[in-house]
Structure formats: structure tokens, C-alpha cells
């Protein structure tokens, strides 16, 4: 059966034309369509009045290193992230995350910009962006502006992006000797919507083995992807030993508020999140 709704669509080939259409209002962008086409079946939320196909906006493509930044275009697909030598060198955790998203068909079409704008609390790349101090560049006919990831997802499926703005690219600061780890606990093998997703980053302090600049971010444990600030404070300056792991796990359990869909699910998610963190710290400690 065809889609219940087939809203009119425009496919501009320049950013200026795209901005002019967005300024008129009522347009919802489509990038890879792996979220939007499902939403169009009408089961999820109000269908858009009009659709703006942004797939021809080549300025939203490409992965490059620019001075101290890794710059990733919004239209970059998961397949491209997995195959990119730059990502493998500078942020392999993002390639690892991309490999867990859906299966081949989804990875060929789904984009980083779509994951960011769709703002699901389970969006798998979002904790990595939070844990690496990434910033998201959005643009409209009015201006371009840069939003820190920590200020981008502000509520349940709500972002700091205005309706007439496009996500253009992501900029990740490159920090020497930063480690980034990604963990995802899902239900099924592939195509899994994560139950808990976690990204942890830190710099190792050579002499003492203590962790500095610790960032811990999680998905699927709140109404939006979050940083776990209290747990970070415990980990900052500490060494990854058993005592640290115990204290961090206690802080995390108190700090997160998994979505209360089914009570047991919330409890399960809390248990999984703490277990994953404990194991991650101990793994690093025994290296």
C-alpha cells in the first residue's frame, strides 16, 4: 500500500534556493529518509505539509580535517563514515557506532545530519558528539550559527534548531591523546534500537595513569541524549581502578532517569548502563 500521504516535495540544488523555500514555512527536510519515510506512513506524529529534499545540496557532503577540527557534512551516510580513512584515523568510535546502525540498507541511506535533527533519545551517534565536545553548525537565509552539542538536544525530540534552519555540518575538536569508547546494548543483532548507548572520552595523564577531561554521555536513559556530569566529576582525575568504578557506578545510578515506559524497562536500563560503565572502566584499568 502506498504511503498514506505524499506531500508535495521540492528538490533544490543550491543552498540559497533551499533557504528561500524554508523561509516560506511548512517544509520538512528529507535527507536519507530512513526516519521520515517511516513517519510518513502516518503512524508517528503529524505528517509535514511539504517536504524539502536536501539530497542535492553538495555543500552538506564531505569529511575533512580543517586545522584542529574534524568536519563532517550533514549528508554523510553511515556507509561513508564506516569507509572513511579520516574517521578511522581521527574518530574511530564514530565508525564503530555507524556499523551498529540498522543494516546495510539503512547505512547506505541514513545520514549523520538526520540522526542529529531527528533527535531520538536513542540516536546512536549523539552520545559520541556529546562526549567529544562537538558542535553543530546550522544555517538559514538569516545566518549560520554554531551550537555546542551540549545545547542542541533540549527536550524530548526537541532541538535548538529553528524550523527554517538546516543542519549543515558537525565539527569535532581534535584533541591529542584523547581516547573515545563507544558501547551499545541493543535487543537484536542488527536493526536494533539501542536500549542503552554510551560514549566515554578522556585523556590519559601519562605519569599517574589518571584520567583528565572526562566526558560521559548516554542515550536511551532519559528523554534526550545526555551528559552524565556528576559521574564525570567522580572520574575526573581518578585512575580507572575498582574503587573508581564502584563510585562512578553509584553516581550514574543516581544521575540517570531512564524513560518510564514500563517500570521494569527503566530499571533494566539503569542496571545495564551501570554494568556497561563498570566493565568499561575496568577494561581500561587492566590495559
Amino acid at each position: 500500500m502506498p504511503n498514506a500521504v505524499e506531500p508535495p516535495v521540492a528538490s533544490p540544488s543550491s543552498l540559497q534556493d533551499a533557504y528561500a523555500l524554508l523561509a516560506k514555512g511548512g517544509y520538512r527536510p528529507i535527507a536519507g529518509g530512513t526516519d521520515l519515510m517511516v513517519q510518513l506512513t502516518g503512524e508517528i506524529g503529524e505528517p509535514p505539509e511539504r517536504v524539502l529534499d536536501i539530497s542535492r545540496l553538495d555543500r552538506l557532503r564531505g569529511i575533512e580535517r580543517n586545522a584542529g577540527w574534524l568536519v563532517i557534512g550533514a549528508l554523510t551516510t553511515y556507509t561513508e563514515l564506516r569507509r572513511s580513512p579520516l574517521i578511522a584515523e581521527l574518530l574511530p568510535a564514530l565508525a564503530e557506532a555507524a556499523a551498529t546502525i540498522g543494516a546495510a540498507q539503512i547505512q547506505q541511506r541514513g545520514t549523520l545530519g538526520g540522526n542529529i535533527a531527528n533527535a531520538s533519545p536513542a540516536g546512536d551517534t549523539l552520545p559520541i558528539l556529546l562526549a567529544t565536545d562537538a558542535r553543530i553548525v546550522v544555517g538559514s537565509g538569516r545566518q549560520e550559527r554554531t551550537i555546542p552539542a551540549t545545547e542542541f538536544w533540549i527536550g524530548y525530540r526537541t532541538t535548538a534548531r529553528a524550523d527554517d534552519e538546516l543542519v549543515l555540518r558537525v565539527e569535532v575538536p581534535l584533541v591529542s591523546d584523547r581516547r573515545v569508547r563507544f558501547r551499545k546494548i541493543g535487543t537484536r543483532r542488527a536493526q536494533a534500537i539501542s536500549k542503552v548507548v554510551m560514549a566515554l572520552s578522556w585523556s590519559a595523564d601519562g605519569r599517574a595513569g589518571a584520567w583528565r577531561n572526562v566526558r560521559l554521555a548516554l542515550g536511551s536513559v532519559a528523554e534526550r541524549p545526555i551528559r552524565a556530569w556528576e559521574t564525570e566529576a567522580i572520574l575526573e582525575g581518578a585512575r580507572p581502578d575498582e574503587e573508581t568504578a564502584e563510585r562512578a557506578v553509584a553516581a550514574l545510578a543516581a544521575e540517570i532517569h531512564p524513560i518510564d515506559d514500563v517500570r521494569s524497562t527503566a530499571e533494566y536500563r539503569r542496571a545495564v548502563a551501570t554494568r556497561v560503565l563498570h566493565r568499561l572502566i575496568r577494561e581500561e584499568g587492566s590495559r
Binding site: 530512513t34 519515510m37 529534499d53 543494516a103 542488527a190
Partner: protein, 156 residues
């Protein structure tokens, strides 16, 4: 709107709303009913086709994004009535039972073989992880893809 694309090597022009799914254009406008609809939500892979050689779910692709591009469906695999290597391998190993998943499996398998990756079980499992099969338990499908991939690497 009118869109021009290549389907199984032939140029076609279709007149359809831009947000119509590639799946509906193939099945209803072009009469290519080999591509199946299972879930309509990207979960089952029954609608898998190749878009410029990459495997995608046709239920998630709006026709406006196919303008100027090349689509291969299961109808494009056999040449002059002769099954291609992967189709023949499915018959040999018993990789098809009820057949609902088969067109999609063949397209995912084609994409895997074309990638040139070594036909190891884990890699094949990953390549077809977006294609659900209720009948075969996957083993015979994996065998078929491995067999066709081997024959491709060692011709004859």
C-alpha cells in the same frame, strides 16, 4: 512531476508525485512486481533493490531522489532467460523456500558479491542482516551467497 531513471539498464520516465516510494513506482507504475513489500518500514528488506549499485530499501526511497540514477531489481539479474550465478546458487543450495524474502536476499547478496569482500560467514551474515527470512534459518542462503562469490573469484 516527471522523473528519468534507468531501471535494469533501460531508460524510463515516470510521472508521479515526488514523495511516491520507489517501491510503488516499480510495482505499480512499471509493473515490476518481483520487488516485494513486507513491512513498509525498513525492517524486513523484502523491498531491497540496488540504487547506483548500493543496496537500499525501496520502501524508504522517494522517487524524487532517484532522478538521474540507476536502479537494479530482481528482474534485472537473469540475462535472456538464464539465471545469473547467484540465482543459480540459491537453487542449488535450497536458499529459497516460500520465496517472499528471495528477491531482497538476492539484491543484498549481489551487493555483497560486488563489494569483493571475502565470502566469510560473518561478513555474509552482516550483509544480509537487514533481510528477514522466516523459512530457511539463513544457513542455506549464506551457503548460496558464498558459493556464488567463490565462483566469481575463481571463474569456471
Amino acid at each position: 512531476m516527471s522523473y528519468r531513471l534507468q531501471v535494469n539498464g533501460e531508460p524510463v520516465e515516470v510521472d508521479a508525485p515526488g514523495m511516491r516510494r520507489l517501491l510503488d513506482v516499480l510495482r505499480e507504475e512499471l509493473g515490476l512486481t518481483g520487488t516485494k513489500e513486507g513491512c513498509g518500514e525498513g525492517e524486513c528488506g523484502a523491498c531491497s533493490v540496488l540504487l547506483d549499485g548500493a543496496v537500499v530499501d525501496a520502501c524508504l526511497v522517494p522517487i524524487c531522489q532517484v532522478d538521474g540514477r540507476a536502479v537494479t531489481t530482481v528482474e534485472g539479474l537473469a540475462r535472456e532467460g538464464v539465471l545469473n550465478a547467484l540465482q543459480a546458487a540459491f537453487l542449488e543450495t535450497g536458499g529459497a523456500q516460500c520465496g517472499i524474502c528471495t528477491p531482497g536476499m538476492l539484491m543484498a547478496g549481489e551487493a555483497f558479491i560486488a563489494s569483493g569482500a571475502a565470502p566469510e560467514e560473518d561478513a555474509i551474515r552482516e550483509a544480509i542482516a537487514g533481510n528477514l527470512c522466516r523459512c530457511t534459518g539463513y544457513t542455506k542462503i549464506i551457503d548460496a551467497i558464498a558459493l556464488a562469490a567463490e565462483r566469481r573469484r575463481v571463474p569456471g
